[in-house]
Symmetry: C2
Subunit: 286 residues, 2 copies
DNA sequence: GTTCCGCATGAATCGATAG
DNA sequence: ACTATCGATTCATGCGGAA
């Protein structure tokens, strides 16, 4: 079996037009946010964002298989003290195109960008909008069930006490948590809130998500040898993870520097296929 | 100093019209969601929801002080496998009324409703939309600072060793009740993600949100003797907390049973003021 | 007086069945 | 065809009773 990882240099909209209809199982991307990353993408003004994105989402709707899923990582920026509305306007417009707005996951960024402002706190979450073509789509829930170890850990952190306190607290009785409730349990289904830390080890690229993010959705929505697409590849996280997980993938990037960087990162992995199996090896240097 | 807690029986829109303009410092409410709580509130159809809410938000805009804040707790339900759009439509319409959509907090509900479905996970978050009249508004960030450090780790270790631990804090992430316990430690500002469990408390009536939720926003956006308004009072959580925190408050409720229940819960607390101090006594029987 | 175990119960959602 | 109701699924939490 050979996994094909197609890295394409060019404008997203133009390249998408060359991709066959109904050929992609999962689209996962983090497009340039409005007016962000000016140096690299030129920055799209918040007022023009929807207008700019709609032709692209139209093409994405075309290339996605009927059973496929589109995960859009996005967050509105603050303009003049107010949250912009381009994201929610985009949702409404994409529905008009025929997309189903199936779900909105929350990505809780544990280590959010530091800073202090007089009238707001640090922004530590982003939207992960799930869109589909049909009500029926492929979803492999068992693949992302949380194993005991991780689950118990996260629970333990938030655990308060095993000793109850009745009335000295304002909020009423304390927690009487029964440890046996989770010990011995093997797996549980996750929820629509994802707790992931942002990775800050990629100095070159301006806005990349952690590998665990595409990994989670690739596990959830695809099987090996399915095809994953990232129309705004950036540092190529999606494609690198997809290849490691034996999924075909396509990455589109307009900036030559990023394109080159990903190209070089992909190559050694391909070569390693001719060597003894090394599924999750350190062949790609992240 | 006497704290006034006004519990009013009646239709929200009608009662709001009797409240003076620019008189409220904080509005925090959780209106009946579309098609939810049918048994008690009749249920508003998703398609009619915006239309139903807009006259009310118009009045809320009038009664709020220029420096005040409106916190709206809401979440869209799933209809035919898709998320409804009435919440995002509401945001757009409220902006047309003159509201500023300042921020969106996420309430991460640790104990979300159970269930398993082929195409979605459990919904474990809700929106806490912040609206303002002006870009400048009152915000007392220091009041909600949370302790940082390794105390959680230490406690975790003790816990695993089955030592006796007394912990009056609700959770370690921004809603500790006895923050004074941690004076001397370093403190940090919270983020816009709140971690709270829903309270499944009284057998009779379920509270819309846990007490720590209004408590947090009351601390953040008001000072003692300010006025808090909840136009959909329900079980009166907001008003009970406001009174305990020495804020005047107004609660509006259309269901006589809830109205009566809150009335009875408020009275004993008021009376206790004439007795020796009993700040966090069992006067309110939750 | 503490700790542990069992159990009821939710601002849920889907699919099937009934009018 | 379109709404109304019901059963099944699932799990964190609070509480009562037992060890």
């Amino acid at each position: 079996m050979e996994i094909k990882t197609d890295i394409i240099l060019g404008d997203s909209y133009e390249v998408l037009k060359t991709i066959p209809s109904d050929s992609v199982d999962l689209i996962i991307t983090s497009p340039p946010y409005a007016d962000q990353r000016k140096k690299t993408y030129g920055g799209i003004h918040p007022d023009k964002y929807v207008e700019w994105f709609l032709p692209i989402s139209e093409e994405l709707l075309r290339v996605l298989k009927p059973t496929g899923t589109f995960i859009l990582n996005i967050k509105e920026k603050v303009v003049k003290g107010e949250r912009s509305t381009y994201v929610i306007e985009l949702i409404l417009e994409m529905k008009k195109q025929g997309w189903l707005w199936t779900e909105e996951f929350i990505w809780h960024k544990k280590n959010s960008y530091p800073g202090k402002w007089p009238n707001r706190f640090r922004d530590s979450w982003e939207r992960l909008l799930q869109f589909n073509k049909n009500r029926k789509f492929n979803m492999y829930q068992e693949e992302v069930m949380v194993p005991v170890g991780d689950w118990a850990k996260t629970r333990l952190k938030k655990l308060s006490q095993r000793d109850k306190i009745r009335d000295e607290s304002k909020v009423g009785s304390g927690f009487g948590k029964n440890i046996s409730n989770w010990i011995g349990r093997e797996k549980a289904y996750p929820t629509n809130v994802l707790h992931l830390a942002t990775e800050c080890n990629n100095k070159k690229h301006s806005a990349a998500f952690p590998e665990s993010l595409p990994e989670w959705f690739i596990k959830l929505f695809t099987k090996p040898e399915d095809t994953v697409l990232d129309p705004f590849m950036g540092s190529g996280t999606t494609n690198i993870v997809a290849q490691r997980m034996s999924r075909h993938s396509i990455g589109i990037e307009i900036i030559p520097e990023y394109y080159q960087m990903v190209k070089e990162q992909i190559r050694p992995v391909v070569l390693s296929l001719f060597e003894p199996k090394e599924k999750y090896g350190k062949t790609n240097n992240k």
